[in-house]
Amino acid sequence: MKRVVNILTIIILLIPVTGCVEKNQLEQLGLITAVGFDYSDKKDVIKGTAVLQTFDPQMKNISNIISDEGKTSKGIRENENLKSNNKLVSGQLRVVVFGEEVAKDGTGRLVDTLNRDATIGNMLYISVAKGTAEDLLKKNKIEASQNLGTYLYQLIKQNVEEELVISPTLYEYNHSFYDEGKDPVIPILKLDAGDIVISGAGLFKDDQYIEELKLNKLFFLKVLIDQYKAGALELELPIDELKKFIKDDVSDKEKLILTVDNINSNRKIKLLDKEKPKFSVEVNLETRVLEISENVDLGNPEVVKILKKITEKEIKKEMSNLIAHFQNLGIDPVGFGNFYNSRVRGKNFKQEEWREMLKTAEFDIRINNKIVRTGVID
């Protein structure tokens, strides 16, 4: 008997409990799928632009865009909520776009709130807009039937999967931002005749956007950061050594254009000298020829050998230039500092000291390019 009473009490108590939690009905919600942050004209005020997805049983999915100003990102959301007939929620946030100026000043506190809010996922993408985020989100000509947030998400996602850009999820951004001795790399979006395109990769110093890296240089960075499986590389090679193998008359040309497709790569970093510091970087590539500007007989082993040699030289040159450029800027997107930290015992590793050390660091780069295939023809 007593047991029955106990069960009944529990059941009765559960009924009012269902009323304790806020109700969220899909038709009455505005799901924020993308947000952009810019500076307003006023001092210390941020302008936020939100792309909403609303559901109406009578109509097809509609996306609309609201923007408002506020001193914090949550304040902006409150203000935007006043403009909408739907309750705004950020659980479906897919893409965050920072205006160029905001990114240059530092994204720190805006990213902090993304991390703090438990309703926001960890796999959303972070990006930087060329110009303002508001223009990017409002002035594009992408069809309204498509939700802009999901569109941007797909745009970045498929390029990440094709390994053309470095994955910029919030998790990865946090990882490289908070790691001492590593800096984030975030894609840059820009408007090109009404279309939104990825124009390059933004190099960051801590949470500040420093410079844009062109996408054709990104290959070299990506190979250094992690294992690489897809993606093509266009190389301009000196033609001299190959001249005698080319059937046509090429006496007036100086460059040979070669496009290779990277099948596989791995890189080994070693710390040679702890004091200086000096690193050795060994990159092993397996490539396949996709396109070549001159008519060369690729069936000839000697040609492939020369090709291998000159591509290695070219890649090495590009890579050294890139690393030297990073050293000048005092940034470390590859994460050499991270590596250094894991190899040296008993030191107090500080990001600022590392930036100074990095400037004088030496790199010994070795490239092994194995041309494994030349397509279906020689």
Binding site: I7, I10, G121, H175, K182, N338, N341
Partner: protein, 373 residues
Amino acid sequence: MKVNLYPKKAYLFNTFLVAFIIHAAQAGVGIAGLPRIVFLTAKHDAWISVFFAGVLTAGVIYIILFMLNQYESADLYGIHYDIFGKYIGALLSLIYVLYLLSACFIIVMNYVEIVQAWVFPDLQTWVLSLILLLLGVYGVLGGIRVVVGICFMSVILTIWLAFMLSAPLGHLDVTHLLPIWETKTLDIIKGISKTALSIIGFELLLFVFPYIENKKRANFYAQMGNAYTTLLFTVVTLVSIGFFSEVSLTRTIWPVLSMFKIIQFPNLERFEFIAISFWMLIVLPNICIYLWAATKGIKRVFGKNQRRYIFIAASIIWGLCFFIRARYQMNMVTDWVGRISYGTAFIYPVLLAAIVLVKKKLFKGGKKNETSS
């Protein structure tokens, strides 16, 4: 009060269930925040601390069972009575009961806090703690066998959560873990003490012992339970360190739940909400078994029916919920209980075992406590 308890045969449970009790009692809310707590002192060698804490626990479990085996079928309360006599023994027993109740309290509160921070920010504390405690009371009213059953079900039903660690495993950055043993040894030892709050639960052996069917085999299964806990905790800490960067990990309150954030299924984007809901299954046996052990103690000291004490104890715990309002208060209380647990779970049983042994040596010709060793 009797020193030895001789429960009816129907109340005894299978010896292998000891492994489940130990693991279910050890794994609780603590594991969600464990990697960060240890990381704060032991840095990237935190996993070494966690591992050694497990080894230390194995030693303490051995000593506890050694002590219990000096008697035929006693629990801690009986031993108190035997060693310290009626009044001091009762006092010590009540102090231990207080510790058990406070442990139960912080388990409830920490779980409620997780739910509030992640899923339902505007759910009142008292509502959720009431539901949890009622569920706990309902389980404890069923007696020790139901409590053991809850432990068993909890382990079986939540074991798959461990496999979910494979997702963050793919994002592991090994450089975070190197070089191994760079932290000062003293800090690693401090890290061991920080693990205490998460790894306690094994001391409940002191109370369930009389109900074990084959008391000679208990050590083996208890060690198995603890070994699994140690393995799980070490792996979780290792993965957290590799997954998060240093600064993130020191700032993330529940690293394990944050790691679940990256798991996505096509029809379920936010896996952590499921994980948090399932976490209740991990927490429930903790609540039940602590509540059971505490009220058993009150019954042993004051006599009469255990049922009444269950309701009273649960009401007191529930009443205390109203006093905690903010995260920093919660932190303070958790820290306090963590420190106390270090004494009550690790140091005190060892001291008591020494006293029991000395007493046995002194009164060699004595009465009941020489029967088995």
